[in-house]
């Protein structure tokens, strides 16, 4: 059985988007949300790149490649800004969660 | 003949990688795991690079292969040194409870 690389990595990208979405909603710590957001982003890139490689004879399409490179760099700058905001928030609020999520009076809450 | 050399060398490289990972999984404490890892892996990478060195089309790629291996050794050496120093002293470290709040120790350092 021969599965094409494009198919496998495309499905992998779809699964990454789902994983990232789940993590993004479930976590309260803001850093974890930034991490999950990055997983969603790279899942989308992988999906896009796999779609650009569906015809291996023609080779990988350079236009999506260029757009993905642009996307990776923009994702990095967004991540840097988000992390700087989180550090500033932690400095002022002494917490790594948004006020509406920060019910950490019970330290073991949410832990199995 | 050249292909045979490549096959033997890459297979040997894989074996060293496998040995390194086995050490990483099986060894009991942090320091001996560090020990297993850095040596076996870089030897494995070196063997793979050596096996592929006879396949490259030109001297520029050969130079790149050598540079890659040199950089990998440099990085592994430096990180093993640095990480080993901040790892807890041997014998005290394998307490599961100590891991979760990596920040606790730091906070105590700065009153």
């Amino acid at each position: 059985m021969v599965l094409s690389a494009s198919l496998l990595y495309g499905l992998c990208g779809a699964a990454l988007i789902g994983l990232g979405l789940y993590g993004f909603v479930v976590h309260r710590r803001l850093i974890r949300r930034v991490l999950a957001f990055n997983v969603i982003g790279s899942g989308i890139f992988l999906l896009f790149g796999a779609a650009a490689y569906r015809d291996p004879v023609a080779g990988s399409d350079p236009v999506p490649q260029a757009m993905i490179i642009t996307g990776i760099v923009v994702a990095l700058s967004a991540t840097a800004l988000a992390l700087a905001l989180i550090v500033a928030h932690a400095r002022l609020a002494r917490s790594d969660a948004l006020p509406e999520d920060d019910r950490s009076g019970d330290p073991d809450e949410g832990r199995p | 003949m050249i292909d045979l050399f490549t096959i033997v060398m890459t297979a040997a490289g894989l074996i060293f990688f496998a040995a390194g990972t086995l050490g990483l999984i099986r060894f009991p404490d942090t320091h001996s795991r560090l020990h297993a890892l850095t040596k076996a892996d870089n030897l494995g990478l070196g063997l793979i690079a050596l096996g592929l060195a006879v396949q490259v089309p030109g001297p520029a790629d050969l130079f790149k292969l050598i540079l890659i291996w040199a950089l990998a050794i440099l990085a592994a050496g430096a990180t093993a040194q640095l990480v080993a120093r901040i790892a807890a002293p041997a014998g005290l470290g394998d307490d599961e409870k100590a891991q979760d709040g990596g920040s606790d120790g730091q906070e105590r350092r700065r009153p």
């Binding site: - | 894989l14 942090t30 807890a88 599961e96």
Partner: protein
């Protein structure tokens, strides 16, 4: 020959999976970080094999970048365990740090 390269590369992926197990188990941060280092070295190996397999030796540049930046994360980790990100781990020995902290990390 290309099947052989892929076979060895698949073997390397399995050793990387073993390293992932150690990242998961820990127990110390140092364990996790060093296991990540193994993934880096193994990844360089896989990329070398992929380059040989496809005959596209421009892939060596990716391995070069990966090897060059392999130490970056570990340095950032070591730095982040000191005071406010600065300082040198060699400034104090593990022994006096352990007594200072009163507990192993």
């Amino acid at each position: 020959m290309s099947s052989w390269y892929l076979l060895v590369a698949t073997g390397l992926l399995l050793t990387i999976a073993g390293a992932l197990w150690r990242v998961w188990r820990g127990p110390e941060q140092a364990d996790r970080m060093m296991a990540a280092q193994l993934v880096g070295t193994g990844g360089v190996g896989v990329i070398l094999l992929l380059a040989a397999m496809s005959g596209d030796w421009a892939m060596l540049d990716v391995a070069l970048v990966l090897a060059l930046l392999a130490a970056l994360a570990a340095i950032a980790f070591v730095k982040s365990t000191r005071g406010e990100g600065e300082g040198d781990p060699e400034d104090d020995t593990p022994e006096d740090r352990a007594s200072e902290d009163g507990a192993p990390r």
